[in-house]
């Protein structure tokens, strides 16, 4: 069903949801925005920003540092309790919501389920705020998504001026909306206009047709040498990325605890082996890995591109490297035709 949430009612409704859920919403944090627990401060909300929060909301399910177990000297180990208290993420953009569904294929796969990830996912409802003004750095429509993509959302929310239009997509979503007024037919019509306009306004950032073939065929191309020259080798692109999930497990003996920390293929220590050998010895191999993982290996594994086009890596790269330009160029690389 479709419902209406007037702008003025947002604090009241968030208050109401807070009684049963821990509510996370995009709020001012330092000079930018992040998903933080909502503590009744409506003036802190950043629902009007066209761009994404700087820090990716994947951290709500996969915290940057997470305790996996603690142990004692006499050999006792215990795992922390799973986080199963009801949570609600309000106002997350479609690219970030969709990223969770991609990450489910890693942390909630047939052969392996991560209990920490799963507990948080199952106890969290997601209200996606569609983007009526996609940013210049956004390219969700290029990578199988869209500004109003519904994947992973319990409710999809559209800004129709005075109020937000909420379409409940799951029983979880319906349950959250039960105290809200229904949307009128006229309001429903406004929604389709907003959604269609936003989607059709977005140009294709690069061609994905044949991209994987070009990437695979050019694994050893000198292109990678060229494209990495200005790369600093920092972790901005991958840490801010909503779909990058690599982690490292570290024993912190002083705390008697084992932690899982985000890690990134852009660091040389990421792939350095115990012997000292590093199969990705330079930024060339590491840059290639970042792009190949998202645009080739994900496709091999789940048939989907592992990027949702949120644009954070484009926006915050300290040297202005643009994955869209990198892929546009990669797509033009020659693909050798092998005749049978």
């Amino acid at each position: 069903m479709n419902y209406i949430l007037s702008r003025n009612d947002i604090p009241k409704v968030l208050e109401m949801w807070s009684k049963t859920h821990q509510v996370f919403a995009p709020q001012k944090y330092s000079n930018f925005s992040a998903f933080l627990p909502y503590e009744g401060k409506a003036e802190q909300l950043c629902l009007e920003y066209p761009h994404n929060t700087r820090y990716p909301p994947k951290a709500l399910f996969l915290p940057q540092s997470e305790e996996l177990l603690s142990y004692t000297k006499d050999g006792q180990a215990s795992e922390p309790a799973l986080d199963a208290k009801p949570k609600l993420i309000f106002g997350i953009h479609a690219c970030d919501t969709r990223a969770m569904t991609l990450l489910d294929t890693v942390f909630d796969a047939k052969d392996y389920q991560d209990p920490f990830w799963k507990a948080r996912r199952e106890s969290t409802a997601i209200i996606t705020l569609g983007c009526d003004e996609p940013c210049s750095t956004c390219f969700c429509t290029t990578v199988e998504g869209g500004p109003f993509n519904r994947q992973g959302a319990d409710i999809i929310m559209t800004d129709i001026g005075e109020s937000f239009h909420l379409e409940a997509l799951t029983p979880k979503g319906e349950n959250l909306c039960k105290d809200l007024p229904y949307a009128s037919a006229a309001e429903d019509r406004k929604v389709s206009n907003v959604q269609e306009k936003a989607t059709s306004d977005m140009p294709k950032a690069f061609d994905t047709e044949g991209l994987k073939t070009a990437l695979d065929a050019n694994f050893d191309s000198s292109y990678w040498e060229e494209v990495q020259r200005s790369c600093l080798g920092c972790g901005v692109c991958t840490f801010l990325c909503p779909t990058c999930f690599c982690f490292d497990i570290a024993d912190e003996a002083a705390r008697s605890k084992r932690y899982r920390n985000w890690d990134t293929c852009m660091f040389s220590v990421y792939s350095r082996e115990a012997s000292g050998h590093n199969p990705r010895p330079s930024r060339k191999e590491r840059t290639r890995q970042r792009l190949m993982h998202k645009y080739s290996y994900w496709v091999d594994q789940i048939g989907k591109i592992g990027c949702t086009g949120c644009g954070r890596c484009v926006r915050y790269c300290p040297v202005g490297l643009d994955i869209r330009a990198m892929l546009r160029e990669a797509g033009k690389l020659p693909v050798e035709v092998i005749h049978a």
């Binding site: 930018f32 700087r54 940013c135 300290p318």
Partner: protein, 317 residues
């Protein structure tokens, strides 16, 4: 293209065409607004998208250490970059004779964060004219005096002019307001220990340990950084208070006598963490205690790296 850009480009072309350099390090046109890219031209045909303006935020000396010593490198240097290069020569990271520095008297780098804080993050276009900047968003247009947008390190720059470049293009500019550096150090130093710790905690707690500050810094070229050591481990691996604070303190301390206050670390940080308030304190100490300013020539060792048999401290001799 500005007159300065044309002259710089012509010089880059000459150096490449006459095979005086193997590579010319400059900038090229950005893909997304605000971030021109460092560029590595090896042939003058590649100079089409050459760009140089106040948004070129990286310290190009960073890239010097990536090349073998035999590589003949041509590069654009502003005041801070010139000093960085000088200091890298002191640290034997590249021989002076294989570097050709094309100097540019610098009018300061615009801090992209100051722009986004004033105009919102979604910027469609930026127009630069001398002393002025016009920023366009989908709904608004903003005009600023350039001095409003200077990065804090540029606003207090005492050495905007290249000091040992092989060729300088453009007229020398006046130093900005070096008194600001002193004021900041005094403000921070004048606070109670508790207040200083709160300030430091507030800044470091946003750290995501992406090490963009390290990677943007020309002086951070260690083959293995202390945070990456597995054994012994110098700091916690997590984004814990201890882990983040250790990183920020030790990173700064490793810069003692080596920092030119270019501010590249702060501009690279995706979390808007202020860092130069610590390094500026160290720079001030170096100047007051040892009369040393990093990078003023390419010979003098920084006090903490220098060794002499007649050292005043007894343990050395």
């Amino acid at each position: 293209m500005t007159d300065l850009e044309m002259k710089l480009k012509a010089e880059a072309k000459r150096l490449l065409d006459e095979h005086l350099v193997d590579v010319f390090i400059g900038f090229r046109k950005e893909n997304a607004p605000l971030h021109p890219q460092p560029a590595f031209f090896t042939n003058s045909d590649q100079l089409d998208d050459f760009v140089y303006n106040n948004l070129c935020q990286n310290n190009l000396a960073k890239f010097l250490t990536r090349y073998p010593h035999e590589t003949k490198i041509g590069m654009i240097v502003r005041g801070c970059e010139n000093r960085s290069v000088n200091h890298l020569i002191v640290e034997r990271q590249h021989p002076r004779e294989n570097i050709i520095m094309i100097g540019v008297p610098c009018t300061g780098i615009y801090d992209w964060r100051k722009i986004t804080q004033r105009c919102g993050e979604e910027i469609s276009d930026v127009e630069l004219s001398p002393g002025k900047i016009t920023v366009k968003t989908s709904k608004n247009q903003f005009e600023f005096e350039s001095k409003e947008l200077l990065h804090v390190s540029c606003a207090r720059c005492s050495q905007p002019n290249p000091i040992s470049a092989d060729l300088v293009i453009g007229e020398p500019v006046e130093p900005k307001d070096p008194a600001r550096a002193k004021r900041q150090v005094e403000t921070f130093g004048g606070m109670t220990a508790k207040a200083r710790y709160e300030w430091f905690t507030h800044e470091s707690e946003r750290c995501i340990r992406c090490y963009a500050c390290r990677e943007a810094c020309p002086m951070c070229y260690c083959a293995e950084c202390f945070v990456d050591h597995g054994a012994p481990r110098w700091t916690e691996s997590m984004v814990s208070k201890a882990g983040m604070q250790t990183w920020h303190i030790i990173r700064a301390f490793h810069q003692t006598g080596r920092c030119v206050d270019c501010g590249a670390c702060e501009r690279a940080c995706p979390m808007d963490i202020r860092m130069t308030y610590i390094t500026e304190k160290l720079n001030t100490d170096m100047e007051n205690e040892y009369q040393f300013i990093c990078g003023m020539d390419d010979k003098t060792q920084p006090p903490f790296a220098a060794f002499t048999m007649d050292d005043k401290t007894r343990f050395v001799a």
